[in-house]
């Protein structure tokens, strides 16, 4: 048998039907659902008299619209449109009998944090969701990707997806990371290297010592942004770190089933000599704490750099860079560490897990955020929030001057009331710095949790290595 990549193995294990031209029906093990991209799909089922094929494999949680203030049980905290969308999910989840974590449930949170936390996401699975950051679950060695609403309806009705196989791409991060460099810096540095279209048509497998050394939280951060590099999915082969994270979670297998699962999971790695269509290698030692300066996640530079000139680029990127610099209100040649920040957002499916909050607490413990700074910490789930409170992190945050919020997507995409105003500039631990992403004419600099914490203290984009 010819050697296979991890992607080849998971793909092969899930093809329910293959046509001569390679068009395949890929069986879906877990379908995650949130309120923004599912209402039309459930409505489609209703109109055609179709049922949810596998309600037991379907997990719904509202996250995009939900307010993150403590008074959010009061429906008046939501706009009418948001309330209608959340209520539609509520109705659909109950009517079609899928697993559901309502806003009132302590386990509610961002769908990509809830899935792994509850043990729904397991190695070797296929996982989809009407959300591009489904890539997150690839950290478990699960083939996970975003789909559109028509495909959500297709999966609800058939538990399969019509797919053609992608190409294999390897991103290897060799060696060790320097102090102050995190999983977020790795994933941004890779996108800086490959561009936002560099992964188009591929499934990425992240390998190398620096990846292996990451916790599950860090691996989720890396895979989360595979989509920002254009890839269909990102994968990391499961290992002892993965098994230790999964073991004992509510929906993880137990007893003899656990042993059987483990036996299969241990076969989930890329065989020696397997073919990759594209390979990118970065040295872990070369990666520095990074920040984005523009309005595309590929606009990445080390924090020690200066704002580029549009003429530094070629082709269509010259005009795009000129537009970005103008939108961001920056001057070419300006030092990145001279950029003043008025808002800090810590949270999202990229960096809203307990390890991220610990990293923030390490930086801000016993200190105060800059006067006038609006700084918000939004845990990725109710359970992350509870754990942070138990560990005393919440107290550290509040003493430092941060707002300590309830779980949700929040200011990552600003569909709830957490938004930037026109011209506000934010250091954010989220995943997209697109124009208007965090609010109309708002300006976003993507950074790691530690760098966001540092910016909250100093009021400027700050090299974390100078603070610790």
């Amino acid at each position: 048998m010819s050697p296979k990549t991890l992607y080849d193995k998971i793909w092969d294990a899930h093809v329910a039907h293959e046509a001569e031209d390679g068009t395949s029906l890929l069986y879906i093990d877990r379908h995650l659902v949130h309120e923004v991209t599912s209402a039309q799909a459930f409505e489609g089922l209703r109109m055609t008299g179709r049922k949810v094929h596998a309600p037991d494999k379907t997990i719904a949680v509202p996250d995009h619209n939900v307010p993150t203030t403590l008074d959010r049980a009061d429906p008046a905290t939501m706009t009418e449109e948001s309330r209608i969308q959340v209520e539609a999910l509520d109705t659909n989840a109950k009517e079609f009998g899928v697993h559901y974590y309502p806003v009132s449930d302590v386990r509610q949170g961002i769908v990509h944090i809830v899935g792994p936390e509850q043990g729904w996401t397991l190695p070797g699975m296929t996982v989809v969701c009407g959300d591009s950051h489904t890539a997150t679950h690839g950290a478990f060695g699960a083939l996970a990707h975003g789909i559109g609403t028509s495909e959500v309806e297709h999966v609800l009705a058939t538990q399969t997806l019509i797919q053609k196989k992608s190409l294999n791409m390897k991103v290897e991060i060799t060696g060790k990371l320097n102090p102050g460099v995190t999983a977020k810096d790795i994933t941004l540095a890779v996108i800086g290297e490959t561009g936002t279209g560099g992964g188009t048509g591929y499934v990425i497998e992240y390998t190398g010592e620096a990846i292996r050394s990451l916790s599950m939280e860090g691996r989720m951060t890396v895979c989360n942004m595979a989509i920002e590099g254009g890839a269909r999915a990102g994968l990391i082969a499961p290992d002892e770190t993965t098994y230790a994270y999964v073991n004992g979670r509510p929906h993880a297998p137990k007893g003899a089933q656990w042993e059987a699962a483990l036996n299969w999971w241990k076969t989930l790695f890329t065989d020696e000599g397997a073919h990759f269509d594209k390979v990118v290698t970065l040295r872990g030692e070369d990666i520095q704490p990074v920040v984005t300066w523009g309005t595309s996640p590929e606009d990445v530079l080390p924090i020690t750099a200066t704002v580029p000139h549009p003429e530094d680029f070629t082709g269509g990127k010259v005009e795009a860079a000129r537009r970005s610099i103008e939108y961001m209100g920056l001057t070419p040649g300006q030092k990145l560490t001279d950029i003043e920040i008025d808002t800090v957002f810590i949270g999202s499916c990229t960096n809203g897990r307990i390890e991220d909050l610990r990293a923030v607490a390490d930086v801000v413990k016993g200190k105060k955020i800059k006067d006038g700074m609006r700084a918000m910490i939004v845990p990725g789930s109710g359970l992350v929030r509870a754990q942070a409170e138990e560990e005393g992190l919440a107290e550290i945050f509040q003493d430092a001057g941060f707002e300590w919020r309830m779980a949700g997507c929040s200011m990552c995409l600003a569909m709830n009331p957490d938004q930037l105003s026109e011209g506000e500039r934010c250091a954010a631990t989220s995943n997209r710095n697109f124009e208007g992403r965090q609010g109309y004419k708002g300006r976003t600099h993507l950074v790691s949790p530690a760098m966001a914490a540092a910016a909250a203290l100093t009021g400027k984009l700050t090299d974390i290595r100078e603070l610790v």
């Binding site: 294990a13 039907h17 046509a19 031209d21 068009t23 029906l25 069986y27 923004v36 991209t37 039309q40 409505e43 179709r50 494999k57 995009h64 449109e81 948001s82 209608i84 969308q85 539609a88 070797g124 009407g130 959300d131 591009s132 489904t134 990707h145 975003g146 789909i147 559109g148 609403t149 028509s150 495909e151 309806e153 297709h154 009705a157 058939t158 538990q159 019509i162 992608s166 936002t196 279209g197 188009t200 254009g230 269909r232 089933q257 656990w258 059987a260 699962a261 595309s296 590929e298 269509g316 005009e319 795009a320 995409l413 569909m415 997209r432 697109f434 124009e435 208007g436 992403r437 109309y440």
Partner: protein, 201 residues
């Protein structure tokens, strides 16, 4: 879905690279639970001022492009979110074909589900179509999916590739859920086999 027919129409040039789904339809418009009505807010922040007045120099606000049915776009069009509201807005506006050097994966798939043909061409050919589109409303292009050809206003013919299954679905307006449900036996057989091999799933 309606059958996709041969299209002759005005093409609008949008050479900017990395046009993302937040630009195509900002999230404030994602709160509808319907599939229709998004065209009014297509490219909202590029097209309108905050007070709702039009931004004159945005391409689709120019008199010659207001009825564009084809978009010639910069590289990596549709990157970002999985929101199908993006193709819903494009289709609702009346655009039925987008040409670029590359598209983001999810957006690309979403187009086919909504009667929009995304066409990938090499840079030179996109440049040629961009120049043609810049001529304005008298420069009508023809997109023939059946023949897999674009004809410029000057009569130049450019061939394009399209996945055979996706082409068939567009041309015949097929409901792919119905097609898959016809393979229920294969799905059931897979489920039985998987329940043996991976009972913990």
């Amino acid at each position: 879905m309606e059958k996709y027919t041969k299209l002759t129409g005005i093409a609008a040039p949008m050479p900017l690279v990395n046009i993302d789904t937040d630009m195509i339809i900002p999230k404030v418009f994602l709160k509808s639970i319907k599939r229709t009505g998004f065209g009014a807010n297509l490219f909202d922040e590029m097209r309108f001022n905050r007070d709702g007045t039009e931004i004159e120099d945005f391409v689709l606000n120019k008199p010659q492009y207001r009825k564009a049915e084809i978009l010639i776009a910069g590289d990596n069009f549709g990157c970002g979110s999985s929101r199908e509201h993006a193709p819903w807005a494009i289709a609702d506006f009346g655009i039925k074909c987008v040409v670029s050097t590359s598209f983001a994966d999810i957006f690309f798939n979403n187009c086919f589900k909504n009667g929009i043909l995304p066409i990938v061409l090499p840079q030179e050919q996109v440049d040629l179509l961009m120049s043609d589109a810049e001529k304005g409303e008298n420069a009508r292009m023809t997109v023939d999916l059946e023949a897999q050809e674009i004809t410029t206003s000057d009569g130049e013919v450019i061939s394009f590739n399209v996945d055979a299954f996706k082409k068939q679905c567009l041309l015949e307006g097929l409901d792919d859920i119905g097609l898959t449900m016809a393979k229920a036996d294969a799905i059931k057989a897979f489920e039985d086999k998987a329940a043996q091999a991976r009972p913990w799933v």
